[in-house]
């Protein structure tokens, strides 16, 4: 039996596990979106939070829920379903790992969220040592990370089982499962940095076992993880672009080997680049900063490959459907299908988003925009448009597939409408952020007139524009949540396809090296050691006395 059969259903027990993750993700969307709305209101200067709630508390909630919880939980829901769909049903043991991971992550999230709401952990999501949060906050985040390791291991074991069962058959491993494994491996390697920082620095420090913490080291360990985190969000979107969309539009995957190569390049170039977030910090040598800038740029190559691959696939399909001339194929694409239209908006947003990212990482150019609201505008294009719109488009077919319902035409149209609203709201909000950032408005800041400075008054109109854009975005979130609720519980019962693309017949054989994880992991470790050994040795050996903890909120 071909696993690519349209009616191949994800096993009901695996579906339940995937859905559990997806529910948490969308609850996070509601609460985190609400926190975002409050933020843009406050920053407009027209609104004050009710007594007892701090702006930075709301900011922490927004960042943690949308940046970590929505993403990680949705990714795991999608990945579990994808592995089960393409490698086969999980064994009881693998599924149990999935559930243990789910509960560890959920308990950890709840613990961290409670401490934030009690105003015991208003240190924002990058930890900001020497600001010291309650130890339960750090422990909660540790559980989220450990839970993701356990759950991720379950997914990898299922893939390994497929490889073992199909040894010697000469068959390529299922592309979608392969991509899930790459993403999980990257996540394991990256989270080691934050785990070391939390377990050996922040947690014992907040418990009072150690008095001082090396701030420069904690920041470097955080960013070792922090940049790979954005690829952990991005790669599932790429899985959908590479594997799902070809099937949705009736085409074929442009090239299997190209897709695998680009994922391996993401794996090796996503981790050894975190210092580009620390370009304006003291204590790190300029040579090493520059080396990491160069390594950061290497990751643009697989993005260029992906862009080519996508448009090649669109054109092939458009011409198959009778599109003539240079651009005729463009009109033939299924623009009314939310599974295609919604992520397409995301792809378009990635063009200015990616260009902005190049600017952020560009060494001395970073000084103009570092920690200004330009950066916020940038990642609201990349993660908050490209990535989440792609996730939403996947939710439109994944949820009904898993719950045994169907995406009706009206829900499909509503999905397209929400994505258009999203594009409008985000264009207004993100453009205002980019411009305000270029003229100096800082990020992560409450409303302020800065002692009546003219420059600060010049920022205010843009802050009002952010509130307008943010309000439109919140309306779009409500529509998305309405669709999700309908698809989970109320849409008509039936069969919804889990679309998995097949590789184009002209695509050449995939070299075996692309499936050899050992080789790529060795390269990855070598690159990390190269990029980080000397900077970290420098930080440790040139370290000032560590910092005591502060609670300044």
């Amino acid at each position: 039996m071909s696993l690519n059969n349209n009616l191949t259903k994800v096993d009901r027990r695996d579906a339940k596990l995937a859905m559990a993750h997806i529910y948490v993700a969308f609850i996070a969307l509601l609460l985190g979106g609400l926190a975002g709305l409050l933020q843009v209101f406050v920053r407009s200067g027209q609104f004050t939070l009710p007594a007892g709630i701090g702006y930075y508390q709301v900011l922490t909630v927004h960042g943690v829920l949308l940046g970590l919880i929505l993403t990680t939980f949705f990714i795991f829901g999608f990945q579990i379903a994808s592995v089960s769909r393409t490698s086969g049903t999980f064994t009881a043991g693998q599924r149990r790992l999935g559930w243990i991971g789910f509960w560890l992550m959920t308990i950890g999230t709840a613990a961290a969220a409670i401490m934030v709401l009690l105003n015991e952990a208003t240190v924002l999501y990058t930890f900001y040592a020497p600001l010291k949060a309650h130890w339960i906050f750090y422990l909660g985040l540790t559980l989220v990370v450990v839970g993701s390791w356990v759950g991720g291991a379950g997914q990898i074991l299922r893939y390994a089982q497929w490889r073992k069962e199909n040894k010697g058959s000469g068959e390529r491993s299922p592309l979608l499962s392969f991509m899930v494994v790459v993403n999980n491996l990257m996540w394991f390697v990256a989270t080691l940095g934050v785990a070391v920082s939390v377990l050996f620095q922040l947690l014992p420090w907040s418990l009072g076992f150690i008095e001082r913490v090396d701030v420069a080291l904690s920041r470097t360990l955080f960013w070792y993880f922090g940049h790979a985190l954005v690829y952990f969000w991005l790669l599932p979107a790429y899985m959908i672009w590479y594997v799902i969309i070809p099937k949705v539009i009736g085409g074929k995957i442009f090239s299997d080997s190209l897709a695998r190569l680009s994922f391996m390049l993401f794996l090796i170039f996503s981790v050894p680049v975190g210092i580009h977030h620390q370009l304006t910090e003291p204590g790190i040598d300029s040579t090493w900063k520059f080396i990491q800038v160069v390594l950061t740029f290497a990751v643009i190559v697989p993005s260029l490959m992906t862009a080519f691959s996508m448009f090649a696939m669109f054109e092939l399909r458009g011409r198959e459907l009778g599109g003539k001339g240079l651009y005729g194929w463009f009109k033939k694409l299924p623009w009314k299908d939310a599974r295609f239209f919604v992520p397409f908006i995301g792809m378009v947003a990635f063009i200015p988003g990616g260009a902005g990212g190049i600017i952020n990482a560009s060494y001395q150019m970073n000084q103009l925009i570092h920690n200004t609201i330009w950066v916020t505008g940038h990642f609201h294009l990349t993660i908050a448009t490209t990535v989440v719109l792609t996730y939403f488009s996947a939710a439109f077919w994944l949820i009904p597939h898993l719950t045994g319902r169907t995406l009706t035409k009206s829900l499909n149209n509503l999905g397209n409408f929400a994505a258009i609203l999203w594009a409008i709201g985000m264009t207004i909000m993100s453009s205002a952020m980019h411009i305000a950032g270029l003229i100096g408005a800082p990020r992560r800041s409450d409303y302020s007139e800065y002692g009546g400075a003219q420059q600060a008054y010049d920022w205010i109109p843009y802050q009002i524009a952010q509130a307008v854009g943010g309000t439109i975005l919140f309306i779009a979130i409500l529509i998305i949540l309405y669709i999700v609720v309908k698809l989970a519980w109320f849409a008509p019962k039936g069969e919804e396809e889990f679309p998995v693309g097949e590789v184009h017949a002209n695509s050449s054989e995939t070299p075996a090296i692309l499936e050899n994880f050992k080789v790529w992991l060795v390269i990855l470790v070598a690159l990390i050691l190269f990029a980080y050994t000397i900077p970290i040795y420098d930080i440790i050996s040139n370290s000032p006395p560590g910092s005591k903890g502060y609670k300044l909120w």
Partner: protein, 163 residues
């Protein structure tokens, strides 16, 4: 592995553009010395008031160095010392700053002077002030509830007028 002909063109063009861009950044950095802050001097942040130059924050004219003025800034939650900086137009200025407690930012809005201030490390940046006017200095790294109350002002004045 087979790559489509057009894909090869696209990748060669894309990678070549990146390489050229990186070379320009690298020449700016290593030939013209345009590095972001990478100060490596350390101190005990709890005794920062005893350390020169932070025992005397402010604008100091210096002789015999590659720059004309040293602007010494001590940041702490939630203010900058000094609260106002005045330098003449065209002066070459070295900004020397640190934090007495948590992480702070030192961003002069509308310029590319932008450094992180980390307890225990001295941040430094040398630049020529070549634009007249008042430039708002803001803390751009979250440092607690008073974060947005933390600001000061750089005044670049015409040396002929101020006399």
């Amino acid at each position: 592995m087979h790559l489509h002909k057009y894909e090869k063109y696209w990748l060669v063009f894309g990678v070549a553009t990146l390489v050229v861009f990186l070379i320009i950044l690298g020449i700016g950095a290593f030939h013209q010395g345009s590095h972001p802050n990478n100060g490596k001097k350390t101190l005990d942040y709890e005794k920062v008031n005893e350390f020169p130059p932070f025992d005397n924050p402010g604008v100091h004219k210096v002789e015999g160095k590659d720059w004309d003025y040293e602007v010494v800034v001590l940041a702490s939650a939630f203010n900058y010392n000094p609260p106002e900086i005045e330098v003449p137009l065209g002066a070459k200025v070295k900004f020397i700053a640190t934090s007495a407690d948590v992480m702070h930012g030192f961003e002069i809005a509308g310029t590319n002077i932008n450094m992180m201030l980390e307890p225990g490390y001295i941040s430094e940046y040398v630049t020529e002030v070549n634009k007249l006017g008042e430039f708002l200095i803001v803390c751009n790294e979250y440092c607690g509830t008073g974060h947005t109350m933390m600001h000061s002002m750089l005044k670049v004045v015409d040396p002929n007028e101020s006399q």
